[in-house]
Symmetry: C2
Subunit: 430 residues, 2 copies
């Protein structure tokens, strides 16, 4: 039986330093849990001289990838360097050298997860990635093990902390998008180029990973319909509040009759929905299973130690498997082949905020357009024509399908009486 385990790290940034700290400071608990000591052997860094925030032994650091990847003394490689191509190359090499791999890299797993899991499988190795989605929340384990016996039909997630922070501040403090984004950047909650967060790309990667597991079907990043929050205005948030909704960036994955839809988009949630009260930089994943019903997993979505917790929990699992000699034998691939819904099969309710020209009959032209396409209206607010010469009309439709809704959207856009479609969102609810 394995009597000790040696770990190599790729990268020593924020998460890497957290992992080193946790392995060091929880040494005894870790040994009790897994039954043998766990050592750090080597850490690949770009600059050996750089000052570090965590205490490290000098001979841990190396600038040569082969000191980790080809090191016969290393059993487990932890990839916390980020990026895609180099990480993919290193992980592939580590697996081919029969090293188990733990990664926190969602970008990589969303794009090349299937391929890498295949390489792991061929080499009898574990490849675990709990930290890649929703930092400190053990959601991957919950989908794979905890709800293993159920048929999951819906996964909704607030899986990007930056956008949740921005929307929360816009809502609670009635401030506008640009102002809150700047604040988030100065606090380090948003990056200087925030595109990947605010345009929903980061959330889409996580939803691809979650829906692949939840629906047992290989979902690719390209299968996710994405729109971000950069056009959300204070007016939209106020109308949402008025209607009893909260506006959140929601990853929405649904399965009906074997076919799936996956999107990430600003969505109006009824205030009573469990996700509506998830605020600030927190993440949460709501899972609906045919048998279990509604469940939700809440926690920090990022941050050094929450993410490191998931990485080290994966390490515990790998080491337990090593002690039992069962690495790489527990992986289960997707059961079903992918079937995406047509637009006409995607049901939903929709929110419109329109500016109409000050013309007789404009309002009734709009409502008959919806009626003509068999979309009935649940809520409607018409404001009087203001000084700038247009009337604002806000509409929430009853349930319809996306195909019909798209038709109406395009007709509204081209309509003579519509000055502008100011906003258009999905509304959660039956």
């Amino acid at each position: 039986m394995v009597d000790h385990v040696s770990v190599g790290l790729l990268g020593l940034g924020t998460v890497g330093s957290g992992v080193v700290r946790m392995i060091d400071s929880n040494r005894e608990e870790l040994q009790h849990r897994v039954g043998c000591p766990v050592y750090i052997e080597k850490i690949l860094v770009q600059d050996i001289q750089k000052e570090r925030l965590v205490s490290i032994k000098e001979d841990w650091l190396t600038q040569k990838p082969e000191d980790v990847l080809e090191n016969t003394g290393i059993h487990v490689v932890i990839e916390v360097m980020g990026g895609i191509e180099l990480a993919r190359e290193y992980i592939t090499l580590a697996l081919k050298n029969k090293k188990h791999v733990i990664t926190a890299n969602k970008d990589l797993m969303a794009l090349h997860g299937a391929e890498l899991l295949q390489v792991a499988n061929e080499n009898g190795c574990d490849l675990f990635y709990e930290a890649s989605v929703a930092g400190g929340i053990p959601i991957i384990r919950s989908l794979v093990d905890g709800l293993a016996s159920d048929r999951i039909t819906k996964i909704m997630g607030i899986v990007n902390g930056t956008t949740n922070y921005i929307l929360t501040k816009m809502d609670k403090q009635k401030r506008n998008y640009e102002e809150v984004l700047k604040e988030a950047q100065s606090l380090g909650y948003a990056e200087s180029d925030p595109t990947s967060d605010v345009e929903g790309i980061d959330a889409a990667r996580k939803m691809a990973i979650l829906s692949t597991l939840g629906f047992s079907m290989h979902i690719h990043l390209d299968d996710v319909n994405v729109s971000g929050i950069s056009k959300v205005t204070q007016e939209d948030i106020e109308y949402a509040r008025q209607f009893g909704y909260t506006l959140k960036l929601i990853g929405n994955a649904k399965k009906d009759n074997g076919k799936v839809e996956i999107s990430v988009e600003p969505t109006m949630l009824p205030d009573s929905h469990p996700l509506a009260s998830v605020n600030d930089e927190y993440n949460a994943v709501y899972v609906y299973g045919e048998s279990v019903g509604e469940t939700m997993f809440f926690g920090p979505g990022a941050g050094q130690l929450p993410t490191a917790t998931s990485v080290v929990s994966d390490l515990v699992a790998v080491v337990k498997n090593m002690r039992l000699g069962v690495n790489g034998k527990n992986a289960v691939g997707p059961q079903f082949s992918k079937q995406l819904k047509e637009q006409s099969e995607i049901q939903g309710k929709f929110f419109y905020r329109l500016h109409l020209k000050d013309e007789a009959g404009a309002f009734s032209a709009i409502t008959s357009l919806f009626a003509l396409h068999e979309i009935s209206l649940e809520k409607l607010i018409q404001s009087p024509v203001n000084s700038t010469g247009f009337a604002e009309v806000v509409i929430v439709t009853h349930g319809t399908n996306k195909n019909q809704n798209n038709k109406v959207y395009n007709l509204l856009k081209d309509s003579d009486v519509v000055q502008e479609i100011k906003s258009h969102y999905r509304v959660e609810g039956a």
Copy 2:
């Protein structure tokens, strides 16, 4: 390698029928997940003739325990009969006959869990009990695996659906305890003898199980300080609301410097606490880990299919272990020996509602009593003397320790100016 798995059930009540239904209706998914077919072999029932709500094969049913417990064709025994002594005897026998066991029995696990896990260990068998706490929420797995690498310092739970239903209705509909209890009984949410639920005993059993796992320390039911909700009044709930609190029955387990406190009691939670918005019959467990920070797991606490989901997820784990030949090898016993805090080491804030006699100096006698014991007051409301001749005073203290608070409580009880201590609760917060 194992090419099929046969299951025996002890009991075919609500949960048992749910388990049969799930094994039957998800047959293909189950086989895909575990790699071999899973069959039901025998079900022990009290009455073979009784009509069943789930479709069963006639030769499944038996009234002889040995048909399950001594049946060499059965690999896994699922105990869903409830009760304590007989269940303990059957499970022990099953384990000694090298059968893996899954149980949903919190009463049994809270009282005899350590002993049964020991028997399982000696016989190289798995004994899993996810369904015993918080029905559909995979909380045991999350504590054992998902947060495996962290040091958990706090577990707070709404782990009894009946009391949460009652308190939610009292709060939202401003109705009194007796009325809502009766409604809950007629809806089947509360039993005809509701003692175990409303007096907090059921919740205490679950907290003993959760804190044993979370703190890696053997916590017994007797270590839990319990008080129930049967004396909660509408007045208390209204004061709570006025102060920005929600009154919930909270299981509270804390670890500081290696020593623990565990209680179940009506507690005033700040409205912003993640547990404050968990309503109706839902359960939730809030876990604080040194590294991960705040996490919360939310879902149905009971019900046929949610509980069956946890049982069948345990079955998936047992069968995977069988296929790998590693049953009974993954269990980790408590790392630490139990150390309970002294009363003087338990910190808290407290709520008092007092009726004072209409006497000069009564109010100042009370406030100086707190001051004398170095307890300062955070909130205080004094209502004028009413027609029945007493004044109501409501107090929330700042943080103090339980020893000091007990002294003040006893002095208030014996004080000449206090007509009655109407209520006294813990208040969550620093």
